[in-house]
Symmetry: C2
Subunit: 331 residues, 2 copies
DNA sequence: ATATTATGTGCAACCGGTTGCATGTCAACG
DNA sequence: CGTTGACATGCAACCGGTTGCACATAATAT
């Protein structure tokens, strides 16, 4: 037995039934203090009886505010993002905002399209780890309030997770354990985080006179990490720092498949702490701040929406190394 | 230097600039075949020059269609959902629909609120693994087209992942390995999947004359799995089937912490295959169908939106056991 | 050449609320 | 007792598109 659906009740119908003007019905909901308490009560009672539900779209049209924001991420399924998304949702909820989610699939062009499609129906946009060029980002920012996560574009409010400090710590940690040849397993080239992590690793390695090289991958996936293993081993390295935990996990799997034991023969460090303690062995990693970043980006956007021109805010979240079980003294 | 934002260009401005009526501008975009090709081209050129962007909200108001759907899940961060969300997104994209994401935090009341807030601004809703009562679900379904995932409410189109068959296979597998006492680690009581899995395990165990018991948890989290371990061991079981992979992983961690080795001394089976091969040891689990479910639910909803009353469709997705490294012969 | 149909465009009403302003009522005040 | 204001409510314009219908012009039929 299929469900039957009834058409919407409008403000006019309520007004007529209650014997008042449409404006009064409207005010009963949006500005009750302008009406006498009796009238408000009466109108609401009638509305209730009729099953009236205010039409969000109509309201949005006349007020110009729709109470929606968009959140665009490169890959929902990358474990770094779900906690961020969740935190953003929660924060948006506190402001009575709803969230459109966009998934760019790590593709700049798709990101561009999503941005166009979504931005026309939201009050503001949060762009997490965008793969888009600065120019396109600025173009979109000129149309809609925008907050960036992990992308440093001057003039646009942004939340940056400074994984540089954590990666530097990780590099130092490896050096202290006696590793002399280390590899950085690179993530997406358009990623600000990747550039930041890579240079932090490179600079620290240089300071400590370690042999340093980079193995590249385009997409931060388990498979990419897995496939990087031959290159890594080919360079005679004894330790690797991966762009993120997922790639690190791929590296671990690749090493295991080749019979290289971790951490006895090889050390691996991840990034983002996205997997937490879910794995065995538990990954040594650089702490993420995805929850904080998600929450902060929303509250920042809300500020922008209120004061209009917040201008050029830039919040930096610190990170640090979390030593667990995938690093050890060099063999 | 903060970005400057310019106000929207309206259809009227374009009309005036192009020397035509507003309706013609509208038609140039929505019904070009009604105008002469020259006019269309001219209007679009002018619109382009002015930077005109059609107002989605206004269009939605007059057409009654907004091209949005809502997807509500209990927990974005539960690894079962991200692939589902992603697949749903992708499919929605094909239909030029945008997706609101809602996160109920495993809470029926929050789900109810989200549903109310969201349903007024979408054409249809997809409810994944709802924790809400049948009554409330039906109430909402009477207002908006709805598709359910993993919830069997007659009269509402739904996609069910039949993990029963997979769990039965898992139970049989354990019996064949010589296990006589097994435990089911239960998930949320309001979850249809949980009831289905539990009874599949119980029934199969009964058929095979195994000792069977249930350890309960309310939320399917790593911690819940971890905390279930004492109870599990207290029952002298040698194998456990967990509600999902995340809980299974918690169980593994708890066992490891107590020095119980897997799979030598104890066997563990998960559900959903949400973690894939990311873990070591690789979890024996029941295949999930989250991607297929996400995709199917959207295309089903699209059908409902077109033909209005599709009525009572019910798609069932099969599952099966995937044997990996966390099960073995009973000790 | 006139009657008929097809085609392209404009007019104006409408979608469902919101809001500035005008009006009406009644109490407090000088 | 007339005036002033505060307060409650209604009127009507507006948000930015869409769409049924009317009308003018051009193409076709008779």
């Amino acid at each position: 037995m299929p469900v039957e659906r009834k058409g919407g009740v409008t403000i006019s119908q309520v007004a007529e039934a209650a014997g008042v003007a449409r404006s009064s019905v409207s005010r009963a909901y949006t500005k009750p203090h302008m009406l006498s308490p009796d009238t408000v009560e009466h109108i609401k009672a009638v509305a209730e009886r009729l099953g009236y539900i205010p039409n969000h779209t109509a309201r949005a049209l006349s007020t110009g505010r729709n109470g929606n924001i968009a959140l665009i991420v490169p890959d929902v399924a990358n474990p770094f993002f779900p906690p961020l998304i969740r935190a953003a949702q929660g924060e948006a909820d506190r402001y009575d905002f709803c969230v459109f989610l966009g998934n760019s699939e790590e593709d700049a062009e798709k990101e561009d399209k999503l941005l166009s499609r979504l931005s026309s129906q939201v009050e503001g946009v949060i762009l997490a780890s965008p793969r888009l060029s600065d120019e396109r980002i600025l173009a979109h920012a000129s149309l809609k309030p925008m907050v960036l996560i992990n992308r440093n574009v001057e003039g646009i409010p942004r939340v940056l997770i400074d994984s540089g400090t954590g990666v530097a710590q990780a590099t130092r940690h490896l050096a202290e354990q006696g590793h002399r040849r280390i590899v950085y397993v690179s993530g997406p080239s358009a990623s600000w985080s990747n550039r930041q992590r890579r240079s932090a690793a490179r600079n620290t390695a240089a300071k400590l006179s370690l042999e340093f090289s980079v193995v590249s991958a385009s997409v931060p996936s388990f498979e990419a990490g897995l496939q990087a293993v031959p290159s890594i081993l080919g360079r005679k390295a004894t330790a690797a720092i991966a762009f993120d935990d997922v790639m690190a996990q791929g590296v671990l799997a690749g090493l295991a498949a080749r019979g290289v034991s971790v951490p006895e023969e090889f050390s691996v460090v991840g990034c983002d702490d996205a997997l937490g303690p879910l794995m065995v062995p538990v990954l040594t990693t650089v702490s993420g701040q995805s929850v904080e970043a998600g929450k902060l980006s929303v509250s920042l956007l809300m500020q922008v929406l209120q004061s209009d021109a917040l201008g050029d805010a830039c919040y930096v979240l610190e990170t640090h190394l979390i030593v667990r079980s995938t690093t050890n003294a060099a063999p």
